[in-house]
Symmetry: C2
Subunit: 612 residues, 2 copies
Amino acid sequence: MIQPISIQNVRWTGGFWAQRAETNRKTTLPALFKQLEKAGNVRNLELAAAGKKEGYSGPLYMDSDLYKAMEAASYALIHHPKYPLRKQLDSIIATLAKAQMPDGYLNSFYQVSQPGKRWTNLRDAHEIYCGGHMVEAAVAYHEATGETRFLEIARRWSDHIDSMFGDGAGKRIGYCGHPEAEIAFMKLYHATKEKRYLELARHMVEKRGSKIFAGEHGVQLEHYDGTYWQDNVPIRHHTTAVGHAVRFAYLIAGALDLAMETHDSSLLEAARLMWHNTVNKRAYITGGIGNSAHNEGFTADYDLPNVSAYQETCASIALYLWSYRLMMMTGEGQYADAMELALYNGILSGINLRGDMFFYVNPLASRGEHHRREWYACACCPPNIGRLIASLNQYVAGVSEQAVWIHHYGSCVIHAEAAGAPARWTMESDYPWREKVLLRVESDSPRAYELRLRAPGWCPKPSVKVNGSAVRALLERGYLVIKREWRDGDQVELTLPMPVTKREARPEVAADQGRIALQRGPMVYCLEERDQRAPLERIRLPLNAKLEPKWEPHLLGGVVTLLGEGRVAAEWKGDALYRNAEPLRPTPVKAIPYYAWDNRQACPMEVWILGA
Amino acid sequence: MIQPISIQNVRWTGGFWAQRAETNRKTTLPALFKQLEKAGNVRNLELAAAGKKEGYSGPLYMDSDLYKAMEAASYALIHHPKYPLRKQLDSIIATLAKAQMPDGYLNSFYQVSQPGKRWTNLRDAHEIYCGGHMVEAAVAYHEATGETRFLEIARRWSDHIDSMFGDGAGKRIGYCGHPEAEIAFMKLYHATKEKRYLELARHMVEKRGSKIFAGEHGVQLEHYDGTYWQDNVPIRHHTTAVGHAVRFAYLIAGALDLAMETHDSSLLEAARLMWHNTVNKRAYITGGIGNSAHNEGFTADYDLPNVSAYQETCASIALYLWSYRLMMMTGEGQYADAMELALYNGILSGINLRGDMFFYVNPLASRGEHHRREWYACACCPPNIGRLIASLNQYVAGVSEQAVWIHHYGSCVIHAEAAGAPARWTMESDYPWREKVLLRVESDSPRAYELRLRAPGWCPKPSVKVNGSAVRALLERGYLVIKREWRDGDQVELTLPMPVTKREARPEVAADQGRIALQRGPMVYCLEERDQRAPLERIRLPLNAKLEPKWEPHLLGGVVTLLGEGRVAAEWKGDALYRNAEPLRPTPVKAIPYYAWDNRQACPMEVWILGA
């Protein structure tokens, strides 16, 4: 079992993620709060605080978007205590304190818009979900400031939930149509050490699949299909990814938080099985999930359309969170690989380079009509990517009894507790663009332990030098293990060769047949039509095309592009629907990282390029 | 304007179509009558004849399937007066005579199952449609036998229609949800020279789009969408192919029968426009139409899925009939090209080689689960292909004032009236397998006229010899024109080079992107998995692959196969959804004509082969 190293103990010092963390702090989070003010999320709570019974605006889960932004701002506070958003945070917390009802209930939609109707629609009302996000925000705020005001609100709300739902006398089975609170209650348990919050999480994980939504909505059991809400079967009975993608992945992430604490191996095994189905049969090459707009979720194995790919930003984040927990529990690099793939591709595409516009849906091909927007009526994704970037430090490294683990590469300083003593590991790297990662340790006294460096699945031949000499590091389930007595000043040089690779999908994936995707390092690439000399629909890429990476510091905030010789199909002349196939001619082709698309003038884009 | 040469005057003497005509006569038509007995189509009419009010079986258009089979058997009678099915025909005609009501009404569904409810549901009940098929059968029977019994039944029924529907006093606007009777009334007009049948056809063509089905079904006009029945706009207002494909094409075929007789150029122009949209944006490379199962019809330009292609046999036949009329009116080879393409591919695939099993739906790719069946609950296609093959002679050749036209090639004798005198043209050819067509004329005296030989659009360089000497024939709108004084014994040798061609679809056709189809002569090819050394999903065909035709007399009733070197993708090992693209290796590939697929053990099939 790997233990996390908290945000406090990992600080970006430069490179790819320091730049993004700064944009997030300086542009994205302020933009979120501005939008949340404008859309009415803050005012809804002010109305509740003032006891108003009208004027609520937006969908019923408006509170949750605000809470996610508050959580994000709290993370930003950790390394920047004078962060200006603190004022806003504190003001909203004061509003929450006023709005919370004497019994702990807090939900602006029900308090303002539907007084007296609370707890009548667990399936659709997102009531527990909203509160869960408040709990996460409160725990983050407490972690950042040490202050307990917000945490107390969260506890009172959680105690209210505890008084209503559970196995005890006078309680009823309860869980939310949208899972999330499972994660929240486990966080609250860790923050307070109060077991009843763990029990709440356990209740919601274990009872799920009891089909309570059937009774709640007067649906006869024989006509009830709870799949969308993962209420069709008990959690351990799932073998495939089903229903709404964010709900599915949040549920399992929460279940794993529980399993980690309770050492529940059956829950872990079930989660591994579901993950296997998800990643090997229902995930995009860009690391995201949820192929269908219809249910914002899953359909069938290998059904992975590109133009109509849903791949909601939140779903990719949820898969990231789920994979993280599996990695922590198993120490297996495949889970960290999935985190990295989602992070640099399906997640990062969710935000523009400037940091103030967002994708909700992340297609893998576009005819040029799909663009990021400043805000959405359903605005779950913008604050979600804000809080992930704000908290990314915590996913960089971990410790176990005999090892320090590095999961993500970049430039940062990590304060770890290694083999019972503090060790300060400094990492420097132009990752994900360059293949070198330099690590240096500072510690008071020599200590023997393992340094476990993730060897990404995409990397054909990682190599390691220690203090300038090549060492043969054992590759153990996706991590290179360097075991030695580490002394102050020891240096490790990790080289992760990043050849440009052409990727193909299993033949079962109809949408990708005959097509090639490009990847270098963790970055999946795409073609934007504006970079080509012909319309995308005429561009082909031979299997043996040579592609060279090129660092372009002034393009798209600095990216490595891929340049090579593709083929172009002859222009179609006349009206005929079919013609004798015409030969292809060479044409230069330029690919950019997928995350960076739609940051220039609108044009068609594709990840999967037709072969030739 | 080209005039038809009737079935009487064209007799198959050998080759591809003589063989199929024989199979049709000896196997298919007897099988149809057997199935029609078994399914209750005959009994339904017997019940009506006996005045029964119960016991009707099958869908409400059962009569029409029987009539189509009767029409087919009548055509077969023309060259085979002792055809055993005659007895059955006569017995059914006797039943019809008994079943017909005093006012001329005849429809077993309404008479037996819904007495008193006739003419209450023009939209769905196929009432006029069924009668129209009876009229077509009656005209064919009259043509074959000279007897008028059946024709009289048809006339009485038509007079009944005439008494109900039309523009005159006491009549109402009427047309059928399923067009067809327009063709029938024009045939009856030609058989009887009675103008009121032409007027009936005119009424149904011209009034269509009056949205009468809205009123009939109590749908408010603002909520009414008559597209499925082509009842959304007047016929001349259509610019694209819409709604149910068979209905659409039958309607236009009937309208053109009318336009031919009335010299209606605006109707002709509308039909040409619709044809252009159909063939250049909404037709399969196999010549068929109707891409969607949902409406058995059209959806949008370039929406041409392969596995889920509907391409109903009847729809391809309907396009054949529609194209025939345009060709007759314009003398343009493009229409005959469409007839030929549909005939050898989308239509002929509708029946197995033995002649007793049928496709209703003709997909362009199959995972191995799509098979012909002996019969269908909705059995429109089996008798329809039976009657087309039985009547194919009439589509082979035509005459105009100064020309004899050859549209289809094969071995047959054609008795034509050329330049005012009889001319007997004998054609000999192993078409569509071999490129030579020999023609010889017998006539009493030399006559000057043009022989117009269709130069198929697929043929790069047709050439002609007359009496052994090369001649430069003018190519005029798809026909080679050889004008001379034809003398008894003159010989023409037409050579139609048949290179194997690789075809590609416009980039707008998403389903075919990166794929190649094979064609030789009029034949579109497909791959059946059983002929390859690897599963179809791993087979690729490079743009420059060399393919050689091979005559295989013992395969599939004798076919030219295409053999060449394709590529095979490496087998997929393990569970991963994506992998680094692996090189392709050479593999022999064998293609068979599309029409001949699913005549051996079940296996996957595809027309559009992935490129490499």
